[in-house]
């Protein structure tokens, strides 16, 4: 049915697409951000947010507030919306929606494992986990001593199980190989998600391949930059890159041998879409690289809404909302710590 998916899309996906577009129009606007940035206290933020869609989630919070409460409640709203959509969805949209949460699942697994390694309290760690990435036996992760046990005890029941095939070793867990595990899992996850979207085909495949390629490329750059100066070999580094995206395969070869940030930059500037990002930062600077990538991502996510009859809007909405929550967190932190001059440092506007 290639080319005709628009004809039948609305039978199953129309309602939810309408819903998600409605949710999207509830994102905070430029005026909202403008007002939020002028807030003096967290109560002001609450007062302002209570006039937005976050209102019902925040209005019953007693003042004084904390940044964590704000973030928690805002995330709760996202989770509620996600659950609403998931319960309404039919195949293959429901699987697509589930795929969106696997990223959080990986992060949660890594968070718990790292936490227990540093002997933190499990309950405390669980509170820090992203609610979208929760699964039944997540707390049991603390029991595991090595990768193999981790897999055999807990993860075999989760959707992450297939991604583990590459990283089962009997080595004891330490920070380094946990980080490698995270990236291997992410690589497998992104590739799987990519394949899944290609299988759906049509506009979904087209738009999602753009979004996921960007995600994969960003991860590749981050891996390269973060592994500079560690004992990770070039081959190991090369193995962590996802096997698709704009940089695949030649860009990966170049990134794999980079020894400092300027070499990364040199490699990336050969690709026109990333040239703009790197031209924003001066030489030797990597702090604002994240922000530049986020901005580019937000731009691409917003573009996904320009086309109709595809699942990319769900992915884009979830990502945009997460970005908005990150923004709120940053603004609230700046307000709470009286660092208002730094508000604009890491807020990525979504319009």
């Amino acid at each position: 049915m290639y080319g005709f998916e628009a004809l039948t899309f609305n039978i199953h996906g129309g309602y939810l697409e309408a819903i998600v577009r409605g949710y999207r129009s509830g994102l905070l606007t430029a005026a909202d951000y403008n007002n939020l940035c002028q807030c003096e206290t967290l109560d002001d933020i609450k007062m302002h947010l209570s006039a937005t869609e976050y209102g019902p989630y925040l209005q019953n919070e007693p003042s004084p507030l904390h940044t964590t409460t704000i973030v928690e409640k805002c995330t709760l709203k996202l989770v509620d919306e996600y659950k609403h959509m998931l319960t309404q969805a039919t195949e293959p949209l429901s699987t697509f929606l589930e795929y969106i949460t696997y990223g959080h699942m990986i992060d949660n697994v890594v968070l718990i494992v790292t936490g227990t390694l540093h002997e933190r309290d499990v309950q405390e760690l669980l509170e820090k986990c992203h609610p979208l990435g929760m699964f039944d036996s997540i707390a049991t992760l603390a029991v595991a001593q090595n990768m193999r046990e981790l897999y055999r005890l807990v993860l075999v029941d989760t959707p992450l199980a297939p991604y583990f095939s590459e990283c089962i070793t009997s080595e004891d867990l330490d920070d380094m190989n946990i980080e490698i595990m995270r990236n291997t899992l992410y690589k497998a996850y992104l590739e799987d998600f990519y394949r899944f979207c290609q299988k759906i085909g049509g506009a979904t495949a087209e738009i999602m391949s753009d979004l996921l390629s960007f995600e994969a490329d960003r991860r590749a750059v981050n891996i390269s930059i973060n592994s500079i100066g560690t004992e990770l070999t070039r081959d190991d580094r090369r193995k962590l890159y996802s096997n698709f995206g704009l940089l695949y395969p030649y860009g990966h070869e170049e990134l794999a041998v980079c020894e400092d940030i300027d070499q990364v930059r040199g490699a990336m500037e050969k690709y026109p879409p990333y040239q703009a990002i790197f031209s924003k930062l001066s030489y030797g600077e990597s702090q604002i690289l994240d922000k530049a990538f986020y901005e580019e991502e937000v731009k691409r996510l917003c573009l996904a809404f320009e086309q109709q009859f595809h699942y990319g809007v769900f992915f884009a909405y979830m990502r945009l909302r997460e970005q908005e929550i990150r923004n709120l967190m940053w603004i609230s932190e700046c307000v709470a710590q009286n660092q208002k001059s730094r508000v604009h440092d890491s807020v990525v506007f979504i319009f």
């Binding site: 007002n35 002028q38 003096e40 007062m47 007693p62 036996s137 049991t140 029991v143």
Partner: protein
């Protein structure tokens, strides 16, 4: 205003005259003033601080306080609903609570309630723990007992086997196994506790995996739910070795399973159980006492709850309003602007005076009328009868795609279609719904609503009921008119009645054999009112009634459209807009009446003379070949000449409507623009009503010629098409007779009581469901369309905005403020 003197007072036809007023209120009496104005409810404040964000405004802190108090009140409501104590009795004991006192009071109550909740939660938790412990003790001892019994039985069995013959299949190792040295036996440790039932399967699985199967796990279902909301299972896990123990403990933590110590010594078990039971009953009394205390507290809150709620809502709205005022430079007074109807001037001034006196302010508030070019809000004083009709008109929202922000209503001072809608809407409805039987049903239903009005208006009704209740007076009028038209159509559930004397027709012979072939003959005078009952059931019934109703609808439609155009004339006259009279009203009148007015004339002539002329033919050939001879279709002398003149007039009217107005508007605009540039002083008092061309407070907008032209084009096309499509639904009586004949008469024919009853039931269901509900809706929709599309587009601009005064009465109604 100047023009209002020339028109008779008609409250509903034109909006109340509004004025822009400036209030200068000293800061000390501001709060009281606003509160009194809220009681009065006739003043709409303009937001003078629109550019400021909510927390930058003057009274932001007070609003935050009110928000916090509202939160506490919501918390109380929540707690009261949970305790099942939500006060329905609206005790409005007028003890005047001050806001500050209330804040303190609310704070105290909240703190008390929170502490009580925390305490009772703590108690409840320890109660739960004890209860769980007790359960573990009971269930685990069951497990141990049964295990012991099983073991004993097994041993006996084995011993019995040993004593008996050694068969070949008895395991050889058995003896060895049995005779293992007791000292070498590993002492098994065990952990017991409770785990949530949903997780118990996963729990067991993980235990098994983590220890590679070296555990023995038993579970017992707990029948009665522990007060902790989830259902739980008691488990006992046996293990050997220290490593396994650590793992198991970790897993227990991960699953949130509560562990309780347990001894296998029976004596100690009993001891523990009695001890726990004692503690449990102690705790129970404490918890009950706490609950009683809490209920008392909530009850005392409940007495004053509604009053507090209202007070906080009022205060919050007062501060919101105060935030709309701008602070004077000296910071001693607040300056507010807003709209109010002219008739309320005295009332408002009285209120201001009273506020000044009551707050012992030395300076009075200043009330000052401002000159403005802004478009005032539209305000119709409606009552419970007219408001529903006004809502039908307002729902039209002519431009609401462009101005999506609010619902647009009639422009300030333009003729309000609501006045005519009160009669024409139910009447047009009834034209389609003419059946006095159905009309009486509707009438009785609305009478119920109207008699129980007081009671019903207080409660929450369902969606559809609410709609029906809101429009009860509309439905009442519709029902009355349906009875009237039903009598004209002579329909009572599609059965004819001889209410106004005998039918004029009778059979020719006594046997009535030739009634279907030759026809009836007239024996009496014409039936005095409505359709002769004899028509019913004849072969020519349908053509006769259709032709009658069709012609009647055309007459009604043309009359209604003419009314609309004439109202357009009155609007133009009122706003002194000659352009609209000469280039809109006149050509529209000519166009409509030369085509459809002429058709109406023909219909009336045909009715009066009893001519056989084919009006379709006349109208169609009037366009196709106007010069041809009319032949037998000629109704009067000189008809051909008249037709040619009318056709030419109609053809001229279309470009007349389309072209001159935009060009003249452009010219006017340019002239005015030039005039403004040279002499800005002399346009202070003229043309206060030429707002629609020269809209807005900012003087000159750019005149977009193409936009105006396209607008005019759309308007013309809309008019021409609208004039052509004006027919009414005629299906009602046909549908009704289908049900009557096919269901009721068919059932009658069977001579069987059961079938008859079924038939009657089906007939009633069909009448109520299809005819009374669905057909009412469809006729309602048609009438709505006739009003919105055919009537209102002739004159109604509908780009005003509604007068929404600051009023406590409205706030109190609004539940979720």
């Amino acid at each position: 205003m100047k023009a209002s003197g020339r028109w008779p007072e008609m409250d509903l036809l034109r909006s109340e005259t509004m004025q822009l007023v400036q209030l200068i209120v000293p800061i000390e009496s501001a709060h009281r003033t606003i509160s009194y104005l809220g009681d009065l409810g006739l003043f709409q404040f303009k937001d003078l601080n629109a550019e400021k964000s909510p927390f930058q405004r003057t009274y932001a802190t007070q609003i935050k306080r009110c928000g916090e108090m509202a939160r506490k009140i919501r918390y109380f409501r929540d707690q009261m609903t949970k305790a099942g104590l939500l006060s329905s009795s609206r005790s409005s004991v007028g003890t005047n609570v001050n806001l500050d006192e209330l804040e303190v009071k609310l704070g105290e109550y909240e703190a008390e309630l929170l502490e009580m909740n925390a305490n009772s939660e703590k108690l409840q938790r320890s109660y739960n723990e004890l209860l769980e412990y007790k359960l573990v003790l009971e269930k685990a001892s069951q497990i141990f007992h049964s295990a012991e019994r099983n073991a004993a039985a097994q041993r006996r069995e084995v011993e019995a086997q040993l004593l008996g013959d050694r068969s070949i299949d008895s395991p050889l190792l058995l003896e060895q196994e049995m005779s293992t040295d007791p000292s070498k036996q590993v002492k098994l440790g065990f952990v017991s506790g409770l785990v949530a039932r949903g997780k118990s399967a996963a729990f067991e699985r993980i235990l098994f995996r983590a220890t590679r199967g070296n555990v023995f796990h038993r579970q017992v279902v707990v029948e009665e739910p522990v007060i902790d909301p989830v259902e739980k299972d008691v488990f006992v896990v046996f293990y050997s070795g220290e490593r396994a123990k650590n793992k198991i403990l970790k897993i227990c933590d991960a699953f949130g399973a509560n562990r309780y110590p347990f001894t296998d010594d029976i004596g100690k078990q009993y001891e523990a159980i009695t001890e726990v039971s004692g503690k449990l009953s102690e705790l129970k009394t404490t918890i009950d006492f706490g609950q009683l205390h809490r209920t008392n507290l909530l009850q005392s809150i409940g007495y004053e709850f509604e009053q507090w709620n209202l007070l906080v809502k009022k205060e919050k709205s007062i501060y919101h309003t105060l935030n709309m005022l701008s602070v004077d430079v000296t910071k001693k007074c607040l300056v507010g602007e807003g709209w109010c109807p002219v008739f309320a001037t005295n009332q408002i001034q009285n209120v201001l005076k009273r506020a000044t006196q009551d707050s012992n302010s030395q300076i009075g508030a200043i009330f000052q009328v401002l000159q403005t070019k802004d478009l005032p809000p539209t305000y119709f004083r409606t009552n419970k009868f007219t408001s529903a009709f006004q809502e039908i008109v307002d729902a039209y929202g002519y431009n609401n795609i462009v101005y999506a922000d609010h619902n647009r209503v009639a422009k300030y001072h333009e003729a309000n279609p609501g006045v005519y809608t009160i009669v024409t809407f139910p009447f047009l409805f009834a034209v389609m719904f003419g059946d006095w039987g159905h009309g009486i049903c509707l009438f009785l239903a609305t009478l119920y609503f109207i008699f129980r009005e007081k009671k019903l208006s207080g409660q929450k009704l369902g969606d559809i009921m609410e709609m029906a209740f809101g429009g009860r007076y509309v439905i009442l009028m519709m029902a009355l008119f349906s009875i009237y038209t039903g009598l004209i159509y002579n329909e009572f559930f599609s059965v004819p009645f001889e209410l106004f004397g005998r039918s004029a027709y009778d059979c020719r012979g006594s046997s009535c054999k030739d009634a279907a072939t030759v026809g009836l003959h007239k024996v009496r005078d014409t039936y005095p009112f409505g359709v002769d009952p004899k028509w019913h059931g004849t072969r020519s019934e349908l053509p006769f009634l259709n032709s009658l109703k069709m012609k009647m609808s055309i007459l009604l439609g043309v009359a209604q459209m003419n009314l609309g155009i004439i109202l357009g004339y009155f609007n133009a006259k009122f706003f002194r807009n000659d352009l609209n009279i000469w280039y809109q009203f006149v050509p529209q009148m000519i166009f409509l009446n030369s085509l459809f007015g002429y058709l109406s004339l023909l219909i009336i002539v045909k009715w009066c003379t009893g001519s056989q002329a084919d009006l379709y033919h006349v109208m169609i050939y009037m366009f196709l070949s106007p010069t041809d001879d009319l032949g037998e279709n000629q109704l009067f002398v000189g008809q051909k000449f008249l037709q040619i003149v009318l056709l030419l007039a109609a053809l001229v009217a279309v470009p007349w409507m389309l072209f001159p107005k935009p060009f003249l508007q452009k010219k006017q605009h340019e002239e005015r623009h030039r005039g403004q540039a040279y002499a800005p002083l002399d346009n202070t008092d003229d043309d206060s009503f030429e707002l629609e061309v020269h809209n807005g407070s900012h003087g000159h907008e750019e005149f977009e010629f193409s936009e105006v032209f396209v607008h005019q084009l759309i308007h013309t096309i809309e008019f021409v098409l609208g004039a052509v499509s004006n027919t009414a639904s005629l299906a009602h009586s046909e549908l009704s007779s289908v049900f009557y004949e096919k269901v009721l008469l068919l059932a009658w024919g069977f001579n069987n009581v059961i079938i008859l009853i079924i038939g009657i039931i089906v007939f009633i269901c069909a009448t109520v469901g299809v005819l009374l509900v669905m057909e009412t809706l469809s006729a309602f929709l048609h009438a709505l369309r006739l009003h919105w599309v055919e009537f209102q587009n002739k004159f109604y601009e509908g780009d005003g905005y509604k007068f929404s005064p600051f009023s406590f009465a409205l706030i109190a109604e609004d539940e979720e403020y």
